[in-house]
């Protein structure tokens, strides 16, 4: 169990965390005290029966453990790796009060990997219902919804605008956190369940709205793919990347292997990354792997960093320097980036989010050398499809407004994941998608939602 040494892993894109061996997994599972009222299940956005699968691991019945997880979650190999367990299941684990919480995420991943390698099984699929459902987007929400719908016998067609399914799992999260063959395996599973995936298809463009209307239901799961820029002077200089572009070039297009692969990227010698979320950590760590010195600039304090603690620690181990309580105000250079002018930030009274509001300290401007600036300050819903959707209501930030069940204001149209919630985590997207899928299923069967929740 554990991470590969930083000085080795910083030169490659192989997975950092090597995972548990069977012995380690059994040992870890035995630490679970099988609470009568398990908080972990409530802490799980998709409600996996965690004590049951852990008991199966402790009893060395890994296949059964996998089956238990898969009742609620088709994508455990992904979730085991990228879920923020420390604030979900593990965050409420009773063992965590006096010692370490049970490593639920590591166990989930172990079980999923074991199953993939030893005994891949498909969940039972019901008799065809005769209903057709379109799922727009093949990211976490789309995959989770397609899984639930296919399981219930509905014919699912997924539309993906890129050339590879997986959405942010493919273009956003680097392979050293989530190997692409893991995503591929989960997608293949969906295909074997009868889900049709149409790549290179943009809903609202390659597939007209009139064509979407012909489906019995449509789930919009287009994510939050539109990168925000800071809006500071010099942002148009060559060398300023959005995190999305930087990560897409490497993760999806394999620019790290240019010229073997055709997509180029500038590796930079001094890279500055702005932001404190997981996307910022991913960008910084990719830049390190491309050989640059990397400084991550974040406007708040260490304890405010929203990225997962483990990933922050790993970024540091890999040599990413952190410049906290600072914020870029200008990109310097003529055509090409030569530096970033920053300002120190003071922490004032808490803002609406409850965190201290960072305010620029007047006259504290300073410059750091840089040839690349990567902005990882957040994303919004992609406007491409949304613009073409008539009859649905939008929120202030361009997200689709949905009710508890994921219904939009347009009949037969549902939405889930970041496009509905704003940028969030993989697992929250999956949780919302599952809810929406169940609501779609109920609607198609002519049931009310109450009947569903009682099931």
């Amino acid at each position: 169990m554990g991470d590969r040494p930083a000085e080795i892993r910083v030169h490659d894109f192989l997975e950092v965390d090597t995972g548990l061996t069977a012995e380690e997994a059994v040992q870890e599972a035995e630490r679970c005290i099988q609470c009568k009222k398990p908080g972990c299940v409530k802490g799980c956005p998709v409600g996996i029966d965690i004590p049951a699968f852990i008991a199966a691991v402790a009893g060395r019945d890994f296949a059964r453990a996998a089956a238990i997880i898969k009742e609620e979650n088709l994508l455990p190999a992904i979730c085991g790796r990228v879920c923020p367990q420390e604030v979900q299941c593990e965050g409420v684990c009773i063992m965590g009060v006096k010692e370490q919480p049970v490593g639920i995420g590591a166990l989930e991943r172990f079980v999923a990997d074991w199953e993939r390698e030893h005994a891949p099984t498909l969940p039972g699929v019901r008799e065809p219902s005769g209903n057709r459902v379109a799922v727009v987007g093949s990211g976490p929400a789309g995959l989770a919804a397609a899984f639930e719908l296919a399981k219930r016998g509905h014919k699912v067609t997924m539309f993906e605008s890129l050339h590879a399914p997986g959405g942010v799992l493919m273009y956003g999260i680097p392979s050293f956190r989530l190997p692409k063959e893991v995503v591929q395996a989960e997608v293949d599973q969906l295909r074997r369940m009868g889900v049709e995936i149409r790549l290179n298809h943009l809903a609202g463009a390659s597939v007209g709205m009139d064509e979407l209307d012909l489906y019995d239901a449509v789930l919009v799961a287009t994510g939050a793919g539109l990168p925000f820029f800071m809006g500071i002077p010099g942002e148009q200089l060559s060398g300023v990347y959005s995190a999305n572009e930087f990560l897409t070039r490497v993760n999806l297009m394999h620019a790290d292997r240019f010229p073997e692969y055709d997509t180029p990227i500038k590796r930079g010698s001094r890279v500055v990354v702005v932001g404190g979320g997981n996307v910022a950590m991913d960008s910084a760590r990719v830049a390190r792997r491309l050989g640059a010195n990397v400084t991550l600039v974040y406007r708040r304090r260490e304890e405010d960093i929203p990225a997962r603690r483990a990933e922050v620690d790993r970024a540091r181990e890999e040599g990413v320097e952190f410049l906290l309580c600072a914020n870029p105000v200008r990109v310097l250079g003529d055509q090409l980036v030569t530096g970033v002018e920053c300002v120190k930030m003071e922490m004032c009274d808490p803002d609406l989010s409850g965190r201290p509001e960072p305010v620029p300290e007047e006259g504290s401007n300073f410059t750091i050398d840089a040839d690349i600036l990567i902005q990882a300050i957040g994303q919004g819903p992609n406007p491409l499809l949304i613009r073409r959707l008539s009859g649905v209501s939008y929120g202030r930030k361009g997200n689709l407004v949905v009710d508890e069940a994921g219904r939009t204001s347009k009949e037969g149209y549902y939405a889930a994941g970041d496009v509905a919630t704003g940028a969030a985590t993989v697992i929250l997207a999956m949780g919302g998608a599952k809810k929406a899928a169940l609501a779609i299923d109920a609607m198609l069967r002519g049931e009310t939602l109450d009947q569903v929740s009682e099931e």
Binding site: S161, L162, H163, Y171, R198, L199, N200, H201, L202, A205, S206, V207, G208, G225, L226, P227, F229, G231, E235, Q236, S238, G239, Y241, S242, N244, E245, T248, R249, M253, H254, F258, P259, E260, Y261, D262, T263, P264, K266, Q335, N382, P383, L384
Partner: protein, 282 residues
Amino acid sequence: MYRVEEAKPLAERVYQMWVRAPHVARHARAGQFLIVRIDERGERIPLTISAVNGDLVRMIFMAVGKTTRQLAALKEGDHILDIAGPLGRPSEIERYGTVVVVGGGVGIASTPIIAREAREAGNHVIGIIGARNADFLILEDELAGICDELYIATDDGSRGYHGFAADLLKKEVANRGIDCVWIIGPAIMMKVTSNVTRPSGIKTFVSLNPIMVDGTGMCGSCRVTVGGETRFACVDGPEFDAHQVDFDLLMQRQRYYLDEEKNSLGRYLEHTCTCGEGKHHG
């Protein structure tokens, strides 16, 4: 996989390719583009949709870099791994009155579909096409069949007017009421030519071609400055108000990967030099 149905050279280094891509062809409108990825290791490049026929789309491109040369080497029956589209906003075609569609070099490729739609909308359509010399002129007959009038310019006078397309446009603007203009070509040509309509404020569109990756609004690589604001050419364009576009910035950003492009092309030519692909038509 998308089958190449017809591939042929049109002019020096300029190729025309019809590809079966029903999802693009059935919905494509004037001004839109598609993204091509030739194979597993390929990059995603944007190409304007030049014409549509049933389930087929036509792309016309100049073989300059590695990817376009590789594309030019494809023959009928070969396959392209990925084609996504139609992308971008369609041209804003209305019944303006008299419109001019100006194409420069390989940019002429984008003009027939615009000219056709403009004409169908009830406009009197004047076509102006320009190129370095007669060998680089493309689609002359096709445009003559679509436009109400067609004028030709070459830099060296080897065909048509001796001079630039901008000169011909200037003449039209001076001689009669022009209501709307499209200018499509290399960035520098669009910059210079759109200055012709600037003083009179005639509504003028240009189609921008910055570097793109996904082409769907996801990466921001294609950001351009229009009217002082950052816009994404892939979803907000590719057509913009010519008089608001910062062309110098566009050209600067287009040059960012020149070294890598040279490297990639050199490597490609080394691997393919014996098959004669590198030999130009003409």
